[in-house]
Symmetry: C2
Subunit: 708 residues, 2 copies
Amino acid sequence: MHSLSSQATRPLSSSLSHYSTSYFRFISLSLPLFRTPKSHPKFFTISPKAPIFTVRNCTSISAKPSSELRAKRANSDSDSKLRALRDLFSKPGVGIDAYIIPSQDAHQSEFIAECYMRRAYISGFTGSAGTAVVTKDKAALWTDGRYFLQAEKQLSSSWILMRAGNLGVPTTIEWLNDVLPPGGRVGIDPFLFSSDAAEELKQGIAKKNHELVFLYDKNLVDEIWKESRPQPPNKPIRVHELKYAGTDVASKLLSLRSELVEAGSSAIVISMLDEVAWLLNLRGSDVPHSPVMYAYLIVEIDKAKLFVDTSKVGPEVMDHLENAGIELRPYDSILSEVESLAAQGAKVWLDASSVNAAIVNTYNSACEKYYQSLENKRKSKTEAYDDSNGWSEGPTGIYRLSPVSLAKALKNDAELEGMRSCHLRDAAALAYFWVWIEEQINKNVKLTEVEVAEKLLEFRSRQPGFLDTSFDTISGSGANGAIIHYKPEPDSCSVVDKRKLFLLDSGAQYVDGTTDITRTVHFGEPAARQKDCFTRVLQGHIALDQAVFPENTAGFVLDAFARSFLWKIGLDYRHGTGHGVGAALNVHEGPQSISFRFGNTTPLQSGMIVSNEPGYYEDHAFGIRIENLLVVKEVDTPNRFGGIGYLGFEKLTFVPIQAKLIDLSLLSGAEFDWLNDYHSQVWDKVSPLLDGSARQWLWDNTRPLVKQ
Amino acid sequence: MHSLSSQATRPLSSSLSHYSTSYFRFISLSLPLFRTPKSHPKFFTISPKAPIFTVRNCTSISAKPSSELRAKRANSDSDSKLRALRDLFSKPGVGIDAYIIPSQDAHQSEFIAECYMRRAYISGFTGSAGTAVVTKDKAALWTDGRYFLQAEKQLSSSWILMRAGNLGVPTTIEWLNDVLPPGGRVGIDPFLFSSDAAEELKQGIAKKNHELVFLYDKNLVDEIWKESRPQPPNKPIRVHELKYAGTDVASKLLSLRSELVEAGSSAIVISMLDEVAWLLNLRGSDVPHSPVMYAYLIVEIDKAKLFVDTSKVGPEVMDHLENAGIELRPYDSILSEVESLAAQGAKVWLDASSVNAAIVNTYNSACEKYYQSLENKRKSKTEAYDDSNGWSEGPTGIYRLSPVSLAKALKNDAELEGMRSCHLRDAAALAYFWVWIEEQINKNVKLTEVEVAEKLLEFRSRQPGFLDTSFDTISGSGANGAIIHYKPEPDSCSVVDKRKLFLLDSGAQYVDGTTDITRTVHFGEPAARQKDCFTRVLQGHIALDQAVFPENTAGFVLDAFARSFLWKIGLDYRHGTGHGVGAALNVHEGPQSISFRFGNTTPLQSGMIVSNEPGYYEDHAFGIRIENLLVVKEVDTPNRFGGIGYLGFEKLTFVPIQAKLIDLSLLSGAEFDWLNDYHSQVWDKVSPLLDGSARQWLWDNTRPLVKQ
């Protein structure tokens, strides 16, 4: 149905937005003041131990070569931007001593539109994670170990590079407290900080009596970006058909409203883009990899309002919204609506970990106004006023995690059917791809990691319902496979080497579902060391795949199953084992996860989707990861001790695991049987979608192995 | 060296103190206001989720039959005690409306001396866990599901039985807040509550404006107990020889003092009896099962004082203490010493989870006095006084967990050598025992569970260095094996049935170490169901035994290994998998544990001892548990990913696992090899200690199995 078109090449050519699928693994790598998507702050704030802002050292990536000329040009360009920005500091209505420019958009999105990439614009540093802080005489950029080399190349000499996580490197707050004279005014765009993050910042700088200044009216970077700033995306919104969504909007709103009533609230502001899309059965194309549109949604008990650029709303979507009783409002009228909710006395449910500080603060100020005016009325007694009701019935913020996160994670039958179906088409695309790449490599055709990723996209785009990649493909040959967040760039990437391991982590958005798969292969003869490591990663993968566990088990309980075979020889991997995946939505979602970090106590529940992706990475040598997506499902165990249900996993991903990388002598009988059984399922499910050499390839790669 | 003597029979005849080895498994079963030994509150208070006071429903035990006559006698006896107690409420210096009588002694001990069993005396209920609360017109006793039946029989009609954990049953605090008129005075003996527990109680009852009254001078139950109250124990203290202790007292004190300095403190009060015994290389016989003596220890930078009944201190111990620079003080002078520490300006390290409220409160009051007098001096200015120093140098409590807990858990080579050695002698005793019981059963001799436990004690007592059982033997035939805390009583226990599973969980104190072992056997033909369950418990036991894991791994991470095989068929067990064990000390110690509860984040460290005891319990049918003790040790892995060490376990326990209960077809090749390898080690290590039929029995039960 959908062909490649211009959309398909965008994600790959964009160097500005490249969260990888391994994003979750290094979620705790986040910089000070860098907020991770909504589902993950929860993960860390629950934990009594896990720091919210941890930084790990990790392998640096090789950055593009940059000529002297380019460096100089960047320098003067960068200086003029900084000058222009600082000129604004003293303008009326601004009056600040420093300005913080984070990486975020107003919705804590993982993938953001170019017009919101203000930190990249002002600093020249295009990595996905970073925070820029500009004072009257200094400019500093924080990023983590993934990006040190890239930042060194991209930043002009006007910028101080803060290598976050390195010994002695201050946090943003520490640095501000150090360089600003006491009593400074630190400006932020309050839309770009979650309420929680802004509060943390405010308290941190208050130690030196600095004041946090919310500049609601203008983003200072946008002011200097001017005409060259890309337009906000305005691709048309489409209806996500009921046959894929499974539950109609009316039913979803009904459930949400009953949760509102139960919590004693009368309205909720939903700001996570995937939550808006899921709740309204709508999809958009505003950002790469994620089929969402920029919008806020306010759901009240008797009405609901969608705040969106109305030019994106065609007649079909308009009908769809009207049928569900949803009114349209301009995207930028969100604050005035929040104000009027408070004025009407609405008790608003706000998830302070995802809703931005502009909204939360505006609501709180409006609440104060409400009570002030009530007090004035009471004092003046000019009007008849019933004292007893006014206070208890007045507006209050109800601060809780968004209830949509869990509802969205529990997939219904239609969503699961879509996920199953698109995974088979995805597997077919991969079969065609593997045949192609093996042929090319055997013909000694030189292929770069980027060319390979582009070809994979081409095969995927031929599949019905294909829309987009679900993240930037990680295509890593040899040592590049050991860089967990590797993103090959056309002018610096490696050629895929027949003599080395090749790690391919990729995924797609289809109209009916979302995929995310990693396979590691060798085109020649793997070394014994590589086979040993690969087999242990596979054993961990199998152990998690086969796990059965009681209801109410949190994902971290299962994490050790995936590591135990590596541990036996003193190996491990520095990322979690599984993340949630949306159904035709974000490739990374919460609230569940499977990780060695035990802060996320969300139980795995029937209908949740998780990835199963243990790995092993040998620095400067090779990387291994084997990733399938799984659905949590009830298992019909012969007993039900404790009167509760027992859960296990159903596989969604059906792509062969390369046999030549397996040391069969390490496998137990049960593991051996798992492998043959899996391959037999792959053949049964995927071969009908293939013909020619791809069908033959599938047969060659799924035929039963015989234990020596 | 040591023979049975009178000591050996005492633990079995005492019905008042019967914590079982399964104690830790149900640690969270604790009643409101019932404090568990010090190492375990940590476990729960760290957790963000695990409630401190959880109660699980568990199988009730079958209590002794009680005749009408006995019930009536108890009734009038009980009433007169309550009357006498209430008479004291209005006495000068008392003036209370309610009195709480917990199970504890002043040291949060697991096993306590009879003279401290005040709750049993006042209520007539002799179970190990319970809290009695007496008001002017009501008397209530809280206990948990283990003891509902027993409490029903033992309590007179004057008592309300509070079935803790049952729906709608209030906590002690809730009940007090309900029955007392607001502004009541609730009395406690502050020695019997940890400071943390007293604080929790104080805050809880403050909601109804009740006041918590500390009655320092007299325990009201002791007042009415009078002459019939047993004398405090005064068995002689002995020196724990350096060849067993491994580290001399001077070195231990040096380490402790450097920790004090590092924490900015100048003294520490140590109140856990095993910590005092470990630190001073002393052992006592004041309580059953645990070789400790009632004492407090205060260590300052330049001196140390032991508060103990000096009649227990003979010349050898006196020399030993003098050599280590330790002064003796009377046991009951602890409070005046704490007062004088504050007056001298000492900053005292106090573990509020274990040190009692009497000590902590006395110190705090004395600190207040200190500052009051300072303030007075400053105001009157009658004396020259340097303002700048007085405050920073004054006394302050430093509230942290005791550093002795971890130091004691990390066994040195001598301690490990003692543990290894006594485990072999213990295994020899068990071999003689198993031969004997099999012979008796085959001859159809009727043996009760208690007779069997007594015979086991006899075999153990013949081993050199035997001192005592390390807990009350759990000897459970058939359905009794499913009662995790089962304690057979002579007049109510079952006959060991040839046709049923028999679970035997027991342990001993030797001069050089402490044992704790569970084996489950069948004397006839086990059913397929029993073999299936037993084999899965064994597979879990093997998986944990064989685990290798990186440094800094907490025990809860490994817990699922022990359950996964049961989970696959929908089974589980409702207790933790491992607890710490002292070296010739308490059979239960912290700070580490292996449990599904993830509140205890203490990493497993080289030298720690843990039990490995998965189980399965089928109510009213049978119980299975397989328990070995393990030492955490470094493993020489071929890799050391992350530059850290990898840890695994060394077995201490060498007793055969009954082969007829194993369904060999369920075992993997590796599991099968584990079993044969273990049995071969058992033979090699234990056969030299055996002769005659026991040697033959060991051979029969350790010879290699052949896979079908």
